[in-house]
């Protein structure tokens, strides 16, 4: 079965965590002979092709980074410009990846995605959620592969079932909330560890000031 994948990330493909996740997912999806194609919305030159692929396909996966509790603005802009389908038979599944570790962070977005396909004349085929993905593009290849391997497994699963069932997603998504022990550890060590690692990242990018600078402070 052929799958049209739309990458709704705003970040260019070469630096997109979502693009890396899609690549891992496709490996699993195509293992047993299914095929797929990917459209990256960060490149506006691909929008017309992506819209045509949406219209022509009955099997669609939209992958996105969680942006302030919902889809990124550019994905919303693209979707709002689509012509809703008038004949039944198309399904849309979603893959949401976020920076925070808890699955609960993506539930507000998931609630919206559950009804979005119907507004586009399509059926809903589930949402795969995964948090703790911020560091993906900063990892070396080996570490990155470790983090991406579960997505290849889910690609295999999707090729078999054509949907993300709630139980499968819950097991994949990881903890809904951090445990009391994790919260305690975070309170104890989170700040110094963050200052160390984020400081290094910032330095690499050429940042010279403090990460908690207040450039527009009004005395508040």
């Amino acid at each position: 079965m052929h799958l049209v994948i739309i990458n709704g990330a705003a970040r260019p493909q070469s630096r997109s965590n979502t693009a890396k996740i899609i690549a891992a997912f496709r490996m699993g999806y195509e293992e047993s002979g299914s095929t797929s194609e990917v459209w990256h919305l960060s490149d506006r030159a691909q929008w017309a092709g992506a819209a045509q692929a949406f219209a022509a396909s009955d099997n669609i996966l939209i992958a996105l980074p969680l942006y302030v509790e919902n889809v990124p603005g550019i994905l919303l802009e693209f979707l709002a410009g689509l012509e809703p389908k008038t004949t039944p038979g198309t399904q849309i599944a979603f893959l949401v990846q976020g920076g925070f570790p808890e699955a609960s962070q993506s539930r507000c977005c998931e609630k919206y995605l559950e009804k979005l396909p119907e507004l586009l004349g399509c059926a809903y085929a589930g949402t795969l959620i995964k948090g703790d993905m911020f560091g993906l593009r900063l990892m070396d290849e080996k570490e990155g592969q470790e983090l991406l391997r579960p997505f290849t497994r889910m690609g295999r699963h999707f090729a078999d079932t054509h949907r993300f069932e709630k139980e499968t997603v819950a097991a994949f998504a990881g903890p809904e909330y951090l445990s009391a022990k994790e919260c305690r550890m975070f309170r104890l060590f989170g700040r110094p560890v963050q200052r160390l690692f984020m400081g290094r990242m910032a330095k690499k990018l050429g940042c010279t000031g403090p990460l908690d600078a207040r450039p527009y402070s009004t005395g508040n």
Binding site: G73, Q105, G209
Partner: protein, 168 residues
Amino acid sequence: MSLLIVNTLPEDRAREAVRSLTARSAHSRVIHTGPLNIHPCVGCNFCWLKTPGRCSIQDGYEELLKAYLTYDAAIFLAGTALDFVDHRMKDLVDRLLPLATMYTHIVDGQCRHVPRYEKKYRFGLLYDGEADRDYLDLWMDRVMLNLGGVSLGAYPMEQAKEAFPCTL
């Protein structure tokens, strides 16, 4: 209470609502986002890691960031699409990131970014068009949770005169 009105709609569509809101506040300012040519967030994270607190996109958004910090409350006037706010409004919200730092902490059992400024933001939404109001209320609550602020709720545009009763 000073009030910032951020209008993402064509000015003629928002005129009546703007009039209603300004009449209910002793000190208000209206920013129409159309001329500011606001772009979508590109996910570069420079506002966290390279130029902390400043967005890398050179458009009119900086004016909004400063205004959010200046006024006691902000009301957004937005269009709708697919039962939600339209992309113009979502782009504004996606670009609130510089108001938070990259550092995280735990608030009520969930990770949150540490706010950059000591400010209790109060943001509300007036929407023009079809949308799921219950969902918009939920979404606004979550947006404000991320900023360490408070949502004033989501109201359809035709309720502009009586919307946000506890604030205006």
